[in-house]
Every structure is written in C-alpha cells, then in structure tokens.
C-alpha cells in the first residue's frame, strides 16, 4: 500500500511533458536572425500627435461674418448706458475682429441703422458677451 502511494507520488512529481528551456522572444530572435528588424523596435518612441494638445484659442467671433446690417450682433459690443464701443480688453476679441466690429458699428451709425448714444431697447436683454460689470 505504502509502495503504491509512493509510486503514485513519484509519477505525479515527474513532469508530464518534457520541459524545454523557456525561450523568450529576444532569445529566439537572436537564435534565428542576427540583425534586428527596423519595424519592430520596442524602445524607440512612436510618432503620434501630441495627446495633450489643447484646442486652438479662438475669439468668440472666429468664423462669424461681421456686417453693418446685423445691428443686434453689433449692439452686444456697446455700452447700454452710453452706446460707447467697448475696448479690446473688455470684449476679448482678436485684433482683426475688433477692428471689423468697430468699423461696422461706425458705418451703421452713419448710415442710420444703429443708434449713437444708446443701445436699442430691444437688444438690452441680450446675453452678455463682454465681461463688464455695470454700476447699478
């Protein structure tokens, strides 16, 4: 009985399959080819677009055509109390768009589309684009 169990143990102890030396990928590669493939270089950095890229900074009127007839749009850049045009530091527009807006406002004022000293009462309730706090 004891002999049988021991033999069973021995059988179990012996590996069932012949053990080959574990060849890693690199060893196999070195055995087969002496040169490294340029395509499969694990250490070199992979070329990709910057994953931390931030969206390009645009002003609010980017790709928006500014027209002297669009009085509602132009009225968003003037003061509701005096009708004065806000400066660049208030509107936050880029150089080109600020110039376009100023020119359009002056044009529409002279042509009789937009008021000079006030903001049209219809447009006072419009959403505020310019970050300016009025004294109440």
């Amino acid at each position: 009985m004891f002999v049988l169990s021991v033999s069973r143990l021995l059988v179990q102890a012996l590996p069932k399959q012949p053990v080959l030396p574990r060849a890693s990928a690199q060893c196999v590669r070195s055995l087969t080819t002496s040169q490294q493939d340029p395509a499969s270089k694990d250490d070199m950095p992979i070329k990709m677009e910057n994953p931390y890229k931030q969206p390009a900074k645009t002003c609010i009127l980017c790709n928006v055509t500014v027209d002297f007839k669009n009085v509602q749009l132009l009225s968003q850049f003037i003061s509701p109390h005096s009708g004065r045009i806000y400066g660049r530091h208030i509107t936050g527009l880029c150089g080109r768009k600020q110039k376009e807006v100023t020119k359009a406002i002056k044009k529409s004022r002279s042509m009789g589309f937009m008021s000079v000293t006030l903001k049209d009462p219809l447009f006072i309730k419009d959403p505020e684009i310019c970050g300016i706090k009025h004294v109440e």
Partner: protein, 118 residues
C-alpha cells in the same frame, strides 16, 4: 463693372408714394447706365435717431437696398441727385465685397503656425 449697393432711408409714406420714389431712383440708375441686380425692402422701422432733412424732423422711415453694377464715375452724381430728392432721408452707396477677406481667423492661423514650426 464693380458692384455697388445703395442703402436708402425714405420718409414714412403711403405705398403709392414710396413706389413712385423707388421708380424714380431706379430710372435714374438706368439713365446712367447701371445694371440693377435687385431691390430689397428692409422694412419700415423707427429710426435709431431723429433725422432732420429737407426742413422736417423724421422719426420713422422705410429702409430699402438696391444692388447694382455700374461704372465708378456715376456714383458721385447719383449721390448728388439723391441728396436733392425730398423724400430720401439718407442715401449711402457702398462697394460690395464679393471676395472673402484674406487670411484666416485667429485660431486657424495659430494652428498653421504651430504646424509649420514642428
């Protein structure tokens, strides 16, 4: 021939009179060899400020725009003629830009610069 737009503010009048003024204006344009493209009514509204013209102070007016092709010589004559017209409060001739402005908007320009640098 360059393309112009004539924006007129007419006195607030009855329909037949407004029609007569517009007809007069378009006929003037035809006489001077202009090709009228379109005539649009931008609506009758309250003027943004009181306009005093030809001894009258007006608060309401009808806005009209005429798109036409003409030689540059007639523009000053046309404006002269319209200033003398009693029913026209404010005539303005504007050159029409058919081309898109050169260059791109801020965001696109900056992206292009970054791409060129890298």
């Amino acid at each position: 021939m360059p393309r112009y737009e004539l924006y007129m503010i007419l006195k607030a009048m009855q329909r037949p009179e407004t029609a007569a003024v517009l007809r007069r204006t378009v006929e003037t344009l035809f006489e001077r060899g202009a090709v009228v493209r379109s005539l649009e009514n931008l609506g009758e509204r309250r003027l943004p400020y009181k306009i005093s013209k030809h001894d009258s102070r007006q608060t309401h007016g009808g806005y009209f725009s005429i798109d036409f092709h003409a030689s540059p010589n007639i523009v000053s004559e046309l404006l002269n003629h319209l200033e003398r017209d009693v029913d026209v409060l404010r005539p303005t001739v504007v050159k029409k830009d058919t081309e898109l402005p050169k260059g791109q908007c801020c965001g696109a320009a900056r992206e292009e610069k970054a791409k060129m640098a890298s």
